[in-house]
């Protein structure tokens, strides 16, 4: 069974607007969550993370929100820029062991 799911395979937004990428998980033992960004022919690049003891973490234009009761996290990008166009993966881990990834969301930011 898929323990981490990204239900939207793609998302298109206008430059300058907000991008919201969503992720759901089923394993309540996950205690740390991460977002990665991936360009074609490159490995995933770490973007932002959040511990399960927090509900929000912000880094510049990127904010991650965690709703533990709903087992849901989201990544907000404000304002969106064309260079943000990539595939975004959410991932979860328990005590720093292996990462369990979602299937990815392709974000397209239109100029």
């Amino acid at each position: 069974d898929q323990q981490v799911k990204q239900n939207s395979p793609s998302l298109s937004v206008q430059e300058g607007r907000i991008s919201i990428l969503n992720c759901d998980y089923t394993n309540s033992m996950f205690d740390y969550f991460l977002w990665y960004k991936k360009y074609p022919a490159e490995g995933p690049t770490f973007l932002i993370s959040i511990s399960s003891i927090k509900d929000k973490n912000e880094d510049g234009r990127f904010t991650v929100f965690l709703n533990k009761s709903a087992k849901h996290l989201s990544l907000h990008i404000v304002p969106s820029q064309p260079g943000d166009s990539a595939v975004y993966f959410c991932a979860a881990t328990q005590a720093g062991n292996m990462l369990t990834f979602g299937g990815g969301t392709r974000l397209m930011v239109k100029p």
Partner: protein, 115 residues
């Protein structure tokens, strides 16, 4: 500083051949992970090393897959008697001891195509 490097970047193998994929982690990183990424999917865990010890190999899909990290730095993922379903991108990641963050840093991957 230098990131995680992997070689070769691309590998074409005929079905039945053996392949060896190399990963050079970030210097000083204790933990090393291998993942397999099929087209259009997220990476899936294969195996995990802490220094030279292989602590988890639960994700290896068959006994044709073997990984080692003999000196606690460079790692090699070997696939014997390759089959078409082994075609994927193989990603290596490294990280420091976890607390309080668990970020893993990925290499560019090796794209394996089995014909």
């Amino acid at each position: 500083g230098a990131g995680v490097s992997q070689s070769p970047r691309y590998k074409v193998a005929k079905r039945g051949q053996d392949v060896a994929l190399r990963c050079d982690p970030i210097s000083g990183h204790v933990s090393l992970f291998w993942y397999q990424q099929a087209l259009g999917q997220g990476p899936e865990f294969l195996t995990y090393f802490q220094n030279e010890a292989q602590l988890d190999k639960s994700g290896l899909p068959s006994d044709r897959f073997f990984a080692e990290r003999p000196e606690g730095s460079v790692s090699t993922l070997k696939i014997q008697r390759t089959q078409q379903e082994d075609s994927a991108v193989y990603l290596c990641a490294s990280s420091t001891e976890g607390v309080p963050t668990y970020e893993q840093y990925f290499g560019p991957g090796t794209r394996l195509t089995v014909t």
